[in-house]
């Protein structure tokens, strides 16, 4: 493959990038001291780097195309391991056992830090699954999802502060309040479609954050609320390590619960209506599906999980302020859903684990962390546009009359 044509291409790419990065990478001006620093070695680095990377990039693109081609030519397509694991009972049962065992033993094996970030990731799994209802199933692009997360977190913080309510009491209250907000948001935006919906939800998210920032009497403003108690367990005193492990298990439980409920919703009359709504709104209504009710239910249910996630978030962090609920947070949650594979539960779980754990593990690269994270997003989307787990949706399968006729 290292023929002249390829070589030429790579040289061109490398020259282009050297040109492209020239001012920003090479020159550093200090206007105060009147000094210009020329960092030519960087240009060399860029040149060499882009030269080799362009080979890799093209090789990967070719591979992607070849994968498509193979599929087109009807050749035996290697089913990706991930999909095999999910769809084949022989694989997924043992795999599930392994995953469960791993999840259960995790805090006993790994350090507090690992447990801590895993708990964070699990919160995002729950929240991501919630957003998946809205975006993945009902096809409504929501860029302000973090608002509901904030509602949950502040419900716990404030109810606890003012009335001393405990974690377990607030968990359903927070979920309910978030649901209420979901419905409140749902009403005005029902008529909007696509990107107009996106921008309005984005605005809603910002409105909630700004109100939290400004309304000191209510929310304590930007300095936030500290000393939020961690969840209790029959009043037993726990040290830091124990309490984190406890929250971890709590989150495992909640994740399982979420998966259970979301799966059942997905396979129900409501779930089908959501999917139909995503496919074709007009046809959907012609089939007797109430658009308003269906959209509202998606918003409300999606928000509920965000609310619950928010309550746990507040309890885990013990301190919240509006800085945790910026639009970036919404974007990250959206990335989880899209990157994982819209509409797929396993996909969303993978997405959450990858996106939340990746920046943590990228800490090894210190200041290049976020640069690599950005690059990773691009690469993953370019080479797996459908997400990590794409096209895996439970499909109603007909297997004959008068028998248990549903299949996984």
């Amino acid at each position: 493959m290292f023929n002249v044509k390829e070589l030429k291409k790579s040289i061109l790419v490398s020259l282009w990038f050297m040109f492209l990065t020239f001012p920003i990478m090479v020159i550093k001006v200090n206007t105060i001291y009147g000094k210009v620093e020329w960092r030519w070695y960087r240009m060399a680095l860029v040149g060499v780097g882009s030269f080799f990377l362009s080979f890799v990039w093209r090789a990967l693109l070719r591979r992607k195309e070849m994968g498509l081609k193979k599929a087109e030519e009807g050749q035996e397509v290697k089913v990706p391991l991930t999909r095999k694991l999910i769809s084949d009972k022989r694989f997924n049962r043992p795999a599930l056992v392994v995953v469960c065992l791993f999840a259960l033993l995790f805090p006993l094996v790994f350090s507090l830090y690992q447990v801590n970030i895993m708990t964070t990731a699990l919160i995002y799994v729950v929240v991501g699954l919630g957003l998946n209802i809205v975006v993945g199933l009902a096809g409504l692009l929501d860029l302000g999802y973090v608002a509901f997360y904030a509602v949950g977190a502040y419900s716990y913080a404030l109810l606890n502060y003012h009335f001393g309510l405990g974690f377990w009491t607030v968990l359903p209250i927070g979920a309910g309040l978030a649901m209420l907000f979901g419905i409140l948001l749902g009403f005005p935006v029902l008529r909007l479609r696509g990107d107009y919906l996106a921008i309005v939800t984005l605005g809603f998210g910002e409105i909630i954050r700004i109100i939290l920032e400004n309304w000191n009497e209510f929310s304590f403003g930007p300095s936030g609320i500290a000393n939020i108690p961690r969840p209790g367990f029959f009043g037993i005193q726990m040290n830091l390590h124990q309490v984190h492990i406890y929250i971890y298990y709590l989150m495992i439980g909640m994740t399982v619960f979420t998966i259970f409920v979301v799966r059942r919703l997905q396979d129900s009359r409501i779930g089908r209506a959501w999917m139909a709504l995503r496919e074709d709104e007009v046809a959907c209504q012609a089939m007797g599906i109430d658009k308003t009710k269906t959209k509202l239910s998606a918003f409300a249910l999606g928000a509920t999980w965000a609310g619950m996630g928010g309550v746990v978030f507040a309890a885990k962090t013990t301190f919240i302020n509006p800085a945790s609920f910026t639009i970036w947070e919404s974007i990250i949650i959206l990335c989880i859903v899209v990157l994982g594979g819209m509409g797929s539960i396993v996909g969303v779980i993978c997405g959450a684990l990858v996106l939340i754990l990746l920046p943590e593990y990228l800490r090894a690269f210190s200041e290049y962390r976020m640069l690599m994270f950005g690059a990773a997003l691009i690469i993953m989307m370019v080479f797996r546009p459908g997400g990590i787990i794409s096209d895996v949706r439970k499909v109603y399968h007909f297997e004959g009359l008068k028998e248990e006729s549903k299949d996984l």
Partner: protein, 302 residues
Amino acid sequence: MDFGYFFELFLGGLTRGSIYALLALGYTMVYGIIELINFAHGEIYMIGAFTALIVTGVLTLMGWNKIAILILASLAAVVYSSAYGYTAEKIAYKPLRNAPRLSALISAIGVSLFLQNYVLLAQTSDFLPFPNLIPEFEFLKPVEDIVRSSEIVIYATTAVVMVALTILIKFTRIGKAMRATAQDQKMARLVGVDVDRVISITFIIGSATAALGGVLIASHIGQINFYIGFIAGIKAFVAAVLGGIGSMPGAVLGSLVLGWTESFFTGYISSDYEDVFAFIFLVLILIFRPSGILGRKDTDKV
């Protein structure tokens, strides 16, 4: 009512609006043609500003005169922003042309993060003072405390850019190709339009507009850092949607409306909730006009 006060708020809103408009125009162009919410558009603007800063810094040290610097810096900003826009399209969006739209959005978010951190690492995290490149006009002396020359230049540039883009879209060959591509890509190819090229050019023009914005805004505000693109990008996006995304006059009108909304709300009520109000206003407009002020009503053909 205090008319002077009203007028000054009006001008303040106009400045804000014009600034948003320079960004929103590029946003709306790219959206119009491939329906991509180009989250990295703000970063392209930031790159433009940085390039201009670097060029200005070097040339100032070499003792060039101010006008020459302004022209060269703007030129460099336009060239480099366009180059970055073009490259981003080729790397991060083109392979996703047939993928779900949300995937392209995530890719754009990736580009945005990457460029931010690229500048953070290659340059600095600090705010850098940006020299005021726009000369003070003599004829503005009497009204100096009401309107400044940089503001005049911003209004003028926005107006010129909008008119130029409208002419480009309406009357030139490439403009026609753009409109055709926006409406039906496949058919555009069937009448002989090189769609890939048209998309590239759209990105280049959109990025160049952003770069002009970058130079002017940086010069007006007097400082830049690697993060200025993000908030500006979001605001421009809001403005573009408000006006009806995909429509050029809509982008400008939406930007101005947003600018005035913020300005008057701050002036007469409170800036604590200016964004809240701006967003509520947006929601209200979209409820009554679901496709923005000048947007086409996209009726679903049954």
